[in-house]
């Protein structure tokens, strides 16, 4: 009994790393049983596909015939492929339309909720658009923004402005899609930021108020600096998500008009499932992966670099 009591104390376990002892072997065995289903799921649907994807990206393959190994040809061709490069620019354009506005609006909403709105009933309203499927959100806005009958255009018409084609125009399609996704994600962003804000002790604001600081000043001098970790999290995850936009485009513009909204995921989808160029598509997806890793690292570096100044 007494040995067992010692054994279960994690600290004691760490001092003696010889996990080959009897009780230790049992714990190891149990632990592996506990993680076994996840390990199988991970291996079959994450690890092996990742490795297989890497292999496929070095082949020319239409899914049905035998893959031909082509070395780095897919990557070389992609980098010269005007359509692929265009899709990268279009995606970047989308991210730039989407993220800054979404984050700023999220911040404003979070401040309003943090300082003035009490009761979590209101807060859950922020979650509603985020809970809706992309497909449903896309359909709702397809109707609201319909060039002929959509209420937006009817309204524009009523106040004497020309009707707009929104999803149907080369120039407007991307901003429109960005707007739709801001509608869907801004509340979620605000909720995450709000969670960070509520961890800031209230007496910091009390002190600020006593010193006669305005809400605006308190926001810039207290809230924003203390919010850095949460903002980093929000920015990194939302940028990574934004780069992968697909559903909204699949339902509304299908990459068009012309190629105005052919973002990278739509390009990959077309290469794989419309042209059956699986090697080419997989190589493109891996380039996206590399881009995302770089973008995330740069963001974290930038946001952390400032952190030390403020500490």
């Amino acid at each position: 009994m007494s040995t067992q009591a010692v054994a279960v104390t994690p600290r004691a376990a760490r001092v003696r790393p010889d996990w080959m002892r009897g009780w230790r072997r049992r714990e190891t065995l149990v632990a592996w049983l506990f993680i076994l289903p996840s390990l199988i799921g991970f291996t079959v649907f994450y690890l092996v596909p990742a490795i297989r994807g890497l292999y496929i990206s070095f082949t020319d393959w239409d899914l049905l015939s035998t893959p031909t190994f082509v070395g780095a040809d897919n990557y070389r061709n992609l980098l010269q492929d005007g359509d692929f490069r265009h899709s990268l620019w279009v995606t970047l354009y989308y991210v730039l339309l989407n993220i800054p506005l979404q984050t700023m609006l999220g911040l404003i909403i979070a401040v309003v909720f943090d300082r003035f709105v009490h009761g979590s009933g209101w807060r859950s309203l922020l979650l509603l658009p985020w809970l809706m499927p992309n497909v449903i959100v896309a359909l709702l806005f397809l109707w609201l923004l319909d060039p002929g009958l959509g209420i937006f255009n009817v309204f524009l018409d009523a106040i004497g402005l020309p009707k707009q084609s929104f999803f149907g125009s080369v120039g407007q399609a991307m901003p429109t899609i960005a707007g739709v996704n801001i509608w869907r994600f801004v509340g979620y962003t605000a909720l995450l930021i709000l969670a960070g804000m509520q961890r800031i002790p209230k007496d910091v604001y009390e002190a600020g108020a006593i010193d006669g600081a305005s809400e605006t000043r308190m926001f810039f001098n207290i809230t924003l600096p203390l919010l850095k970790p949460v903002l980093t999290f929000v920015l990194v995850t939302s940028v990574v998500g934004s780069f992968q936009i697909f559903d909204t485009i699949a339902v509304t513009t299908k990459g068009g008009p012309v190629d105005a909204t052919r973002v990278i995921n739509w390009f990959i989808y077309q290469q794989a499932f419309e042209r059956f160029k699986f090697g080419y598509a997989t190589a493109a997806s891996l380039i996206l992966f590399v881009i995302l890793v770089i973008v995330s690292l740069v963001q974290m570096r930038l946001l952390n670099a400032n952190e030390s100044d403020l500490a």
């Binding site: 009591a5 632990a31 592996w32 994450y46 709702l140 108020a209």
Partner: protein
């Protein structure tokens, strides 16, 4: 609570006179933001409802009326299969068949299985990662975490190939398999909660001779009931909303889920004049389960989601 930071009466008085008017002005701004937010969040749903209850013909002639024009339940009835295609056409619908009940059943089946399987197996793994000591624990966990960085599309193509090779295209197991055994996010989310559970009860149970599974089942799961339930619901909703994967592997009528069905329904309708009342009726019906979850769980869900941001 004795709080040393509480301002003295004189200070409070000073603050009141100095900040009184400003707070009022800020508050008005806050209420305007809140009112706008409520309107922007809810209007698309209201407009969909108004459209679904209108007659196609009358929508053309009276696009501005805030109430349904030519009020009719026909679109809902058609979507629910309560009237024949002929009757639906007579009422101005497209007459396209939308087997709502079948798609709903499919979506429920798929989402429930993934939510239950993924939550259960991820909880087991999360317990092992949070509490048990075994070789390679940290390495495996780090690899799981790293996979969160991999964009979905990278794994979608090889996973599609795998499901294709297994002959699982257009089967339930094909749609369910990748999410059934785990998701790195679920394991990470639950591990964070399990780490926060006080160890005293576990230690006591161990001394009483309880096994690891008993501790997991009788102590960890009950104490983390709320988070486990919330994760189950988030997983359910994520699966409910998923589009690309079921679109790729489950387009056939008999396994089609709602998101796929809606996008197919939309692409079948003629481009010039889609059956908007029909489409909006289907869209609203497809979002009813999410709405129900939102109404009953919205508050707790928003709290759980906030937790993901600050950890």
């Amino acid at each position: 609570m004795a709080d040393l930071a509480v301002p003295q009466p004189a200070e409070i008085e000073a603050r009141r006179t100095r900040r009184g008017p400003r707070i009022e002005r800020d508050r008005t701004g806050a209420w305007i933001v809140l009112a706008l937010l409520v309107f922007i969040t809810l209007f698309p749903f209201y407009w969909a409802l108004r459209t679904a209850l209108s007659t196609q013909r009358d929508l053309l002639s009276d696009p501005t009326n805030l109430l349904p024009v030519g009020f009719t339940w026909a679109s809902f009835k058609a979507a629910l299969g309560m009237i024949s295609a002929e009757a639906s056409v007579a009422a101005g619908g497209s007459g396209r068949v939308f087997h709502f009940w079948r798609y709903l059943g499919n979506t429920f089946l798929v989402s429930t299985l993934v939510a239950v399987g993924q939550t259960w197996f991820s909880a087991m793994a999360a317990y092992a990662f949070a509490r048990l000591h075994f070789p390679l624990r940290n390495q495996i966990f780090t690899i799981f975490l790293a996979s969160l960085m991999v964009p979905g599309i990278v794994l979608v193509i090889p996973n599609f190939v795998l499901i294709h090779d297994l002959g699982w295209i257009n089967t339930y197991q094909g749609i369910i398999a990748p999410g059934f055994l785990m998701s790195p996010f679920s394991i990470f989310f639950l591990r964070q909660f399990f780490l926060g559970i006080n160890r005293d009860m576990e230690e006591a149970a161990k001394i009483d001779g309880a096994g690891y599974f008993e501790i997991f089942w009788r102590i960890i799961l009950p104490m983390a009931q709320g988070p486990v339930l919330m994760l189950g619901i988030i997983t359910f909703i994520t699966q409910w909303n998923d589009y690309l994967w079921p679109f790729l592997v489950g387009r056939a009528e008999n396994v089609r889920v709602l998101t796929v069905a809606l996008s197919v329904f939309r692409s079948q309708t003629p481009n010039g004049s889609p059956d908007w009342p029909g489409l909006m009726a289907g869209t609203l019906l497809a979002s009813v389960p999410i709405m129900v979850i939102f109404i009953f769980m919205g508050r707790r869900l928003s709290e759980s989601i906030q937790f993901t941001g600050v950890k």
